[in-house]
């Protein structure tokens, strides 16, 4: 039997009939076609499916859709401005060549947006810890950290050795 759930996804109110066993990852991908939400493991190990639920990042593969009743969901599709403007986190990922295969990218960008929303700044070491729930096999994290430092890091005083 399907169950009815109400949630706001990327600013749009949705009333959906879902399987109560369904994960938010499955609902977003399969019912709303939000394919920026990637499945890398399905069990909360890789962070590729990260989305925001009421302003907090979660692994959507571990989050039952039924829990989202009445909540606000934000995915990378929801970051794009009316005329296609990019979020500063997205722009920083482009400028710093933090994108390679692109599969971990949407999840990391959501974590970046969460950090920006916190209104504070972070050291590189703090950022390492804060993104350690996101696995990336292409970049060695170097340029991802550079991109995040650009938007939430402290102003650079000297070149890194």
């Amino acid at each position: 039997m399907l169950a009815i759930v109400h949630m706001t996804v990327n600013g749009v109110e949705q009333e959906l009939a879902v399987d109560p066993r369904e994960s938010l990852l499955e609902t977003l991908r399969n019912r709303l076609n939000l394919t920026s939400v990637k499945k890398g493991c399905g069990v909360g190990e890789c962070g590729a499916c990260t989305v925001m639920v009421d302003g907090t990042c979660v692994d959507s593969c571990l989050y039952l859709t039924m829990w989202a009743e009445g909540k606000h969901i934000l995915t990378v599709e929801g970051l794009k401005g009316r005329s296609g403007e990019l979020n500063p986190v997205q722009q920083a990922f482009i400028d710093e060549a933090a994108v390679q295969c692109g599969f971990c990218t949407p999840g990391l960008i959501m974590t970046g947006v969460e950090l920006v929303d916190s209104g504070r700044r972070y050291t590189r070491e703090e950022l390492r810890k804060l993104i350690s729930g996101h696995l990336c096999r292409c970049t060695g994290y170097e340029n991802i950290l550079n991109a995040l430092e650009k938007v939430v890091g402290y102003p650079k005083t000297e070149e890194k050795g």
């Binding site: 066993r21 991908r29 399969n30 939000l34 394919t35 920026s36 939400v37 990637k38 499945k39 890398g40 493991c41 399905g42 069990v43 190990e45 890789c46 590729a48 995915t75 990378v76 599709e77 970051l79 794009k80 990019l86 997205q90 722009q91 990922f93 482009i94 400028d95 060549a97 933090a98 994108v99 390679q100 295969c101 692109g102 599969f103 971990c104 990218t105 949407p106 960008i109 590189r124 950022l127 390492r128 810890k129 993104i131 350690s132 729930g133 996101h134 696995l135 990336c136 096999r137 292409c138 970049t139 060695g140 994290y141 170097e142 340029n143 991802i144 950290l145 890194k160 050795g161």
Partner: protein
């Protein structure tokens, strides 16, 4: 060069940061059925029977096929170009589903259902009877006389292939006698060492995935996450017994491959499941667990080595005997092991020569296949553990020893003629040593005691570009002019995250004279549309496909100029394309020709075929090359004259916009012409890339904890096509190298069951495990590369693990023989040495 060599932003970056770039599963129709593989619950044996009667009744189950139903066809899976010579063809040891179980989880049946729940419920109701044989996951056990042969139809024992390479008339004992005669017994020393590398998983972030349906034209159409769409098409046809033309493969964006997707995985089965379900779309989206234990791995290799050297630090002879763990199926066969041994031998020069023997052996575990750098990380682990063990024993400086004994300028591999043209191995070492402060640190880190110790270590590598002449290197390209003067570039080569689409765009822009914003590369390869190319592997595309792109761009340029000549009533020789315009061509005087005369070490080379019968230098692609008299070049140096359309001329007055030309060409009532170019480039060139890693580390002896303080890779990859992307590529390889060194290993229990096939227990590095990564490049223009470039995709991983190992040796005096150097292994080793 105006476009090549610049850090242009990735052409796919916008699509990827917005999540709009579509990957294989993103394109799967929502009504697709689910294809679910039933995995064997034993590691070695036979399926006696499968009773599907109860399972079939589960609501939502559409079809169940078992190993007793599939066509009796064996096919190979390696992502190699097909060989027309039977002896060189890949080993056909797979069926779509197998009755003979050769590894835990082998594919014995498949269930097609409306969702995963239906398939999993049905699986639980299958009644499967097995006949079980003893399990062997190590080659040593698989070679014992009582071990059941896994593929008796192909091999009488579990030995797949044994290869022996050696220098002419080389014999280690004879070399020893001669060396003692020459240098005196007191001056000839020897080390023996035994080294091991682990089986690891690629762990690309996108799991292996595909979906298939039969199109209205009767073609089975498979959309797959693959590095090799054209090869996949051929293998699916072989597996089904269908003609190649009835198979279509579509490759959209993919989430990394690292060699795992240079193999054919569930795609033929996926095609088959759709066919037996009346052509309905069927999706096969592997779980991460399947992706680690049921696809491919890097080969675990176990090697015994000996080396002979003089007490003043000259290598005399080396030999190695190795066993490579093939796993249950041939996959890439013996190619990985053979390639590995070549680099072990070539990396250093031995006065009396060397010998390498390696056996590839079938076992009951996941098949070894291609993985980033294809056997070379193992080779360099063996060679550079050995070198540092020599240096440690004798008190030699490892940097000095490598400078004295490493592969030299002008080296040519006697086995295949591959020649090291733009040589800078020693310069790479020099740069790395400077960056890490080698001399100061080796001094500062001498004679440490206590729980916290520091060390510096290094390792070097050599890597060929593509597979010529061992195998075929061919690539084709198509360019089509649009009405607005922009072009499409269509290739069979694949973007897999490395940035291929971006550098191909740069190449096409560079050579046509059309600006990169007007070059539209078609990222998706559809085998019905994309020209033929074997795909992304062997760090070949920027070199091999790059030549096809350049050749095609030259041809397109000539066709455009031919039309311009018609419109302007001027000879082609007076025209050139620059910045989307047809301009006057102002030839440069000889004196103004820009050439690179700064070859390293005073060594020069003019490539074969570069001089015509009159002694005139020509670009090997031949087209429209200004002639240059070779005798005018300074002797003892080389000169690279590469026609990019601009070197020999500069643009003058604008005569016509490309847009006006294109519009006229399309719609002229006098001469309508759709300007396109399509070429094949059969690449018969190769060269070596090289480089090194230096690591500065801290070891906490109590916990066996290694902290990497500084890590630097120095690469000689020729001219960089896009420095920012090149650097990013190196970072990724370095991080992968850290995982290889310290944490990654796919483990099995004694029954052959995988123990850690998930991302929690198979430890790839997180952002907290990786230090700031430094990449340094020595940009030597290589005469073989289409734009002076050579391999970069795979090399960054090669020398990281041995550099870290040698830094641990420097810090602690303990020689680790086996990767990964986990905390447990380090603590055990420190205990054994009485250090803790």
């Amino acid at each position: 060069m105006e476009v090549v060599g610049k850090s242009m932003k990735r052409v796919d970056a916008y699509g990827k940061v917005t999540g709009e770039a579509k990957y294989a599963n993103d394109l799967c129709p929502k009504d697709a059925l689910i294809g679910h593989v039933v995995h064997a619950a034993i590691a070695n044996g036979e399926v006696v029977s499968i009773d599907i009667s109860e399972a079939e009744k589960v609501p939502g189950v559409v079809k169940i096929v078992t190993c007793f139903d599939v066509p009796d066809i064996q096919f190979p899976t390696a992502g190699h170009p097909w060989s027309v010579e039977e002896a060189h063809q890949d080993i056909a040891d797979r069926k779509l589903l197998t009755r003979r179980v050769r590894l835990y989880g082998d594919e014995i049946a498949a269930i097609v259902g409306v969702d995963n729940v239906a398939c999993e419920r049905a699986e639980r109701l299958l009644k499967i009877e097995y006949k079980e044989y003893p399990t062997f996951t190590e080659p040593e056990d698989a070679l014992k006389p009582d071990a059941t042969p896994l593929h008796p139809d192909l091999r009488p024992t579990n030995l797949l292939v044994h290869t022996s390479f050696k220098s002419k008339d080389f014999d280690y004992e004879k070399a020893k006698e001669e060396a003692i005669k020459k240098y005196g017994a007191a001056h000839v020393h020897e080390v023996e060492g035994e080294y091991q590398t682990p089986r690891i998983s690629h762990c690309h972030l996108e799991p292996c995935t595909s979906w298939a349906y039969v199109d209205v034209n009767g073609k089975v159409t498979v959309t797959a996450s693959t590095q090799i769409p054209h090869i996949m098409r051929r293998v699916i046809a072989q597996a089904l017994g269908w003609p190649v033309g009835r198979v279509r493969v579509i490759k959209p964006y993919i989430g990394g491959g690292f060699g795992n997707k240079q193999d054919i995985l569930y795609e033929p089965l996926n095609a088959y499941l759709s066919i037996v379900c009346g052509g309905r779309p069927v999706s096969m989206d592997m779980s991460r667990e399947e992706c680690i234990s049921q696809t491919r791995t890097r080969h675990a290799i176990h090697a015994k080595t000996r080396a002979l050297y003089t007490t003043d630090g000259k290598l005399l002879a080396r030999e190695i005997d190795a066993l490579a763990n093939k796993g249950a199926y041939a996959s890439h066969g013996h190619a990985v092991a053979a390639g590995s041994m070549g680099v072990y031998r070539n990396l250093y020069h031995d006065e009396y020569g060397s010998r390498a023997d390696i056996s590839t052996v079938y076992t009951n575990c996941a098949p070894g296949g291609a993985m980033r750098a294809y056997g070379v990380p193992q080779a360099v682990w063996f060679a550079d553990c050995q070198v540092d063990d020599i240096c440690h024993k004798e008190g030699f400086d490892p940097l000095r020893f490598r400078m004295d004994n490493c592969v030299g300028a002008g080296f040519s591999d006697p086995a295949n003629g591959i020649t090291y043209y733009s040589y800078s191995m020693k310069e790479c070492m020099k740069k790395g040593a400077e960056y890490i402060h080698w001399d100061e640190k080796r001094k500062a880190y001498a004679d440490q005691t206590g729980p916290i110790r520091h060390g510096v270590g290094m390792s070097i590598f050599l890597y060929k570009v593509g597979v010529y002449p061992i195998s075929l290197e061919t690539s084709s390209a198509r360019m089509v002019l649009n009405q607005d003067g922009s072009i499409q570039v269509e290739l069979g080569a694949t973007e897999i995250g490395q940035g291929a689409d971006t550098v191909f765009t740069q190449m096409a822009a560079e050579t046509t004279g059309i600006t990169p914003d007007r070059v539209y590369i078609v990222s998706t390869q559809d085998t019905d549309l994309a020209p033929f190319d074997t795909g992304s592997y062997a760090s070949r595309q920027s070199f091999v496909t790059g030549k096809a792109v350049k050749k095609c761009a030259l041809e397109l340029r000539n066709r455009i100029l031919d039309y311009a000549s018609y419109m302007l009533k001027l000879p082609v020789s007076e025209l050139m394309i620059h910045d989307n315009n047809i301009c006057e061509r102002i030839p440069l005087d000889g004196a103004e020709v820009q050439t690179d005369l700064s070859a390293g070490n005073g060594y020069g080379y003019i490539p074969d075929g570069s001089r015509d019968e009159n002694g005139v230098y020509r670009d090997w692609l031949g087209a429209d090359m200004k002639k240059w008299d070779i005798d005018d070049l300074p002797s003892g140096k080389w000169s690279i004259l590469r026609d990019t359309g601009k070197i020999f001329a500069r643009p003058g007055k604008v005569l016509l916009s490309l847009k006006d030309l294109a519009e006229t060409a399309f719609y002229s009532l006098d001469r309508s012409e759709h300007i396109t170019a399509e070429v094949t480039n059969h690449c018969k060139e190769n060269t070596f890339a090289s480089g090194c890693t230096f690591a500065d580390i801290t070891v906490d002896m109590r916990y066996g904890k290694v902290r990497i303080d500084h890590l630097v890779n120095v690469h000689d990859s020729g001219t960089l096509l896009n420095p920012q992307l090149a650097e990013a590529q190196v970072h990724g390889g370095m991080a992968m190298g850290i995982g290889y060194a310290l944490t990654e290993e796919l483990l099995y229990n004694e029954k052959g069951r995988p123990l850690n096939n998930n991302l929690l227990d198979f430890k790839i590095p997180t952002a907290m495990d990786v230090p700031d990564l430094k990449a340094i490049f020595l940009e030597m223009d290589d005469p073989m590369g289409p734009y002076g470039n050579k391999a970069l995709g795979e090399p960054p991983i090669i020398s990281v693990a041995p550099a870290i190992r040698n830094a641990i040796l420097n810090a602690t005096g303990v020689s680790m023989d086996r990767i990964p150097m986990t905390q447990q292994r380090l603590v055990a080793a420190f205990r054994e040495h009485g250090l803790i």
